[in-house]
Amino acid sequence: MRSVSVDLNNDSSLLIDIPDALCERDKVKFTVHTKTTLNSFQKPEFSVPRQHEDFIWLHDTLVETEEYAGLIIPPAPPKPDFEGPREKMHKLGEGESTMTKEEYAKMKQELEAEYLAVFKKTVQVHEIFLQRLSSHPVFSKDRNFQIFLEYDQDLSVRRKNAKEFFGGFFKNMVKSADEVLISGIKDVDEFFEQEKTFLLDYFSKIKDATAKAEKMTRSHKNVADDYIHISATVILHTGVPRKVEGRVASDQELKLTELLRYYMRDIQAAKDLLYRRARALADYENSNKALDKARLKSKDIPQAEENQRQCLQKFDKLSESGKQELTSFKGRRVVAFRKNLIEMAELEIKHAKVRIKSAVCSEHNLFTHN
């Protein structure tokens, strides 16, 4: 999972991790642990409990901070979803009477492993979110980020206030600005024009790939579950193929699907940056028109000029930081894909070899037994 985004948590001036988490019914409580040499913090090392909603609050405040318009905001971690294994547990409980004791025990074991995997995944995804912030020169200094890390009280009061204040208005505007991008206004800047084309296309492809990968790993999991039923029922020894099939399913899940899922969200974040820049451009163009109108009417010219200047400034700033962000994003993406694909291939080979070994072993057992 680390390989989803590399080069994080390298800067020892601010180290963040989530050493453990508790699962209480529907809610997950993360323990966010910080180690820092920065003076801006009160203590050199501290931990706070945080919920998923706190992470979302942090993400939203970052999105809605004008200053960060020219940056790619790391995608918010998805909500912990235990629905899958929970439903399966339920079904297993109902079907207990129809299975042998062995079968039931094995299925239960498998489900518990699944549950654990979901749990680990959600911890990591939350951790990576924080680590991306901490390793970013601008975000690491964000006031709200500091509050998130340090504030030893419940953040829920702040969360409520934030919601009321912003009301998600900003976010909605960004979302519906998809049309702005696609509307085909060719950008003067070659770099951004290319980026726009690439990101739009890539996003739809990666979204599709993610969906297909999820389907594939789900059916792989079904096959693995079938093997459990079979191996539990069979008198002869075919236990190992099942275990390996199961683990392969979860490895594929981790490596490939998570990679795709993560980058899908990341690309959405990059697209958001482009939207914001496009809007800034639109603002600038509007301010130009306003200035012309003002000049025509000879009214409020200095305000119009000031407005135009500010818009241009904002646009230029966005473009500059945007370019930087997008370039480093490319690099980051390629590196992550590479690491991930290598690891996945190596795991596949390893597991195939294990399966071969166990099949040979089983065959041998069959011959030496009755």
């Binding site: 690439f198 296309d201 890539y202 492809k205 990666i206 599709d208 790939a209 969906a211 297909k212 990968a213 389907k215 594939m216 789900r218 059916s219 792989h220 079904n222 096959v223 079938d226 093997y227 039923h229 079979i230 029922t233 069979v234 008198i235 002869l236 075919t238 193929p241 490319k330 390629v334 894909f337 590479r338 694909l341 290598i342 291939a345 190596e346 596949e348 080979i349 195939a352 070899k353 399966r355 071969i356 099949a359 040979v360 089983s362 065959e363 069959l366 011959f367 009755n370």
Partner: protein
């Protein structure tokens, strides 16, 4: 049915107590009489015997040569295939061992024993061909035999048979052998839907699959039949394999569903009505039946799981193929050229994996599912009043012969009392008659006892043989399955190993 028409059974040696009316037609009728009242008829064949009566069906294993019998008890070969003992006058005491059959390509090698020769018989069912048109169309299959058995006139031969011929064979065999306590492998089931599709001439993959399934099932069926020592020597079996044209088997209704059910209901009723208690050999029998029932349950569950496995694997194939396409698209969209290449490579790997999954699904199915389905049927998938078909059948045979013995003993007792009365009443001429009567009944009782013992022993041996056969069958198939798994995993490794350098080449 051709049973009664072809051969005239010779009078059996001790056939005074031959039960009446084995009416073969009753297999088909709805309210047949007591169908299983032993037909102890014994069709001889000219193939093996010379003067001696060829009594494999009756004496299996042969009781006449005691030395042979005791050898039978020992399981001399751990990996033994099938043993068959002939009691021809020349070859008394000589064993000929015939192995189980396999497809023409793979011959299973056999064990020798004492002075015995080894013989082989291999059977394959191939070349399904459609004959006729429309609703009268039917499939014929080529049944090829390759053998070194002296029973057959030539070494390699083949005939064409249709499905109803196979059913007809089963009918004939079950009529003859069930009473001896043999476990006859059942043929594949009729399928109206499957056949109609074929008849109508739909050239779709599902009807091709149906034909293939049936062909494979028929092959397995024949292989099991000839693996059974008594059946291999059966003239009907040999005729089935050899004869150019078989008379058309009609009324194969009895074999599917309701016909059997009715037979078994009758048998089950009769068993329940028996008030005579059995001796302790019953315990062995009862516990065996229980084992078989448990096993049947297990196999059914297993069959369901494997079925599910096959479906899920097929689903996985589809999803992998879609994923491969999606990754290819992603790769073409990727701006970094090395990554783009790697992604399209990944797509190819996934494509290859999908093919491998396909093949694996195929092997899952044909190796495992069909095997399990066979055994569910063999153990008696027809369940009647919560007992298995074969269990009930065997129990019935067992109980009948026990009952006959008891009844004979009771009659003997009565005759003794009658004799005693006459002795007392001093009627010399009637006394003579009574004495003769008594002798006759003593002989009968002796015969019944021997019959019972024989049947009991046959049953045990049959069950034992069946279990061995089943074990071997399963082992064989699981080994095949593991080998196919091995093969595909090797290819998986190759695929990923080819991909790895591409992934490493990303900059």
């Amino acid at each position: 049915m051709s049973f009664s028409s072809v051969r005239n059974p010779p009078p059996f040696l001790d056939s005074e107590d031959q039960e009446p009316e084995y009416d073969t037609r009753e297999l088909d009728s709805d309210d047949g009489e007591d169908i299983f009242t032993g037909s102890e008829t014994d069709p001889t064949t000219d193939i093996f015997s010379e003067e001696g009566s060829f009594t494999v069906e009756k004496n299996h294993p042969p009781a006449k040569t005691n030395g042979v019998q005791s050898d039978e008890e020992l399981d001399l070969f751990a990996e033994a295939t099938v043993e068959l003992t002939l009691t021809t006058p020349n070859s008394r005491g000589r064993k000929e061992i015939i192995g189980p059959t396999g497809p023409l390509s793979t011959t299973m090698k056999l064990e020798e024993e004492e002075s015995g020769d080894t013989f082989e018989l291999n059977i394959a069912v191939t070349n399904p061909e459609k004959m006729g048109d429309g609703m009268n169309a039917y499939m014929t299959y080529k049944v090829s035999t390759q053998t070194t058995l002296p029973a057959f006139h030539i070494k390699t031969f083949s005939v064409r048979r249709r499905f109803s011929d196979f059913l007809g064979l089963y009918e004939k065999l079950s009529v003859k052998h069930h009473l001896m306590g043999c476990i006859i492998p059942p043929p594949p089931q009729k399928s109206v839907v499957g056949m109609t599709k074929v008849k109508v001439g739909k050239e779709d993959p599902s009807s091709a699959e149906f034909v293939e399934k049936r062909r494979a099932a028929l092959e397995r069926y024949l292989q099991r039949v000839v693996a059974h020592p008594a059946l291999l020597q059966d003239s009907d079996v040999q005729e089935f394999l050899e004869r150019e044209e078989l008379p058309r088997a009609v009324n194969t209704q009895a074999l599917s569903g309701s016909g059997f059910l009715k037979m078994i209901n009758k048998a089950s009723d009769a068993v329940n009505k028996m008030t005579i208690k059995m001796n302790e050999s019953d315990n062995w029998f009862e516990s065996k039946l229980q084992e078989v029932e448990n096993e049947e349950q297990l196999l059914r569950r297993l069959h369901a799981s494997v079925d599910s496995l096959v479906n899920h694997r097929k689903e996985m194939c589809i999803n992998t193929a879609m994923f491969a396409k999606s990754v290819a698209m992603l790769g073409s969209s990727e701006e970094n050229s090395a990554l783009s290449r790697a992604l399209s490579q990944l797509a190819e790997v996934e494509d290859k994996l999908e093919q491998l999954h396909q093949e694996q699904a195929f092997s899952d199915f044909f190796i495992l599912t069909e095997l399990l389905a066979d055994y569910v049927r063999l153990l008696g998938a027809v369940r009647v009043r919560n007992s298995l078909f074969y269990g009930t059948l065997l129990k019935y045979t067992f109980c009948c012969s026990w009952q006959r013995w008891q009844e004979a003993q009771a009659t003997l007792q009565k005759k003794r009392e009658a004799e005693a009365k006459l002795l007392w009443a001093n009627k010399p001429d009637k006394l003579q008659q009574a004495k003769e009567d008594l002798t006759e009944w003593e002989a009968k009782v002796g015969q019944c006892e021997r019959d019972f013992e024989r049947i009991s022993s046959t049953l045990r041996k049959e069950v034992h043989r069946f279990e061995k056969e089943k074990c071997r069958d399963f082992k064989h198939h699981i080994v095949k399955y593991l080998e196919s798994l091995l093969r595909s995993q090797h290819r998986v490794v190759k695929c990923w190993e080819a991909f790895l350098p591409e992934a490493k080449a990303i900059v």
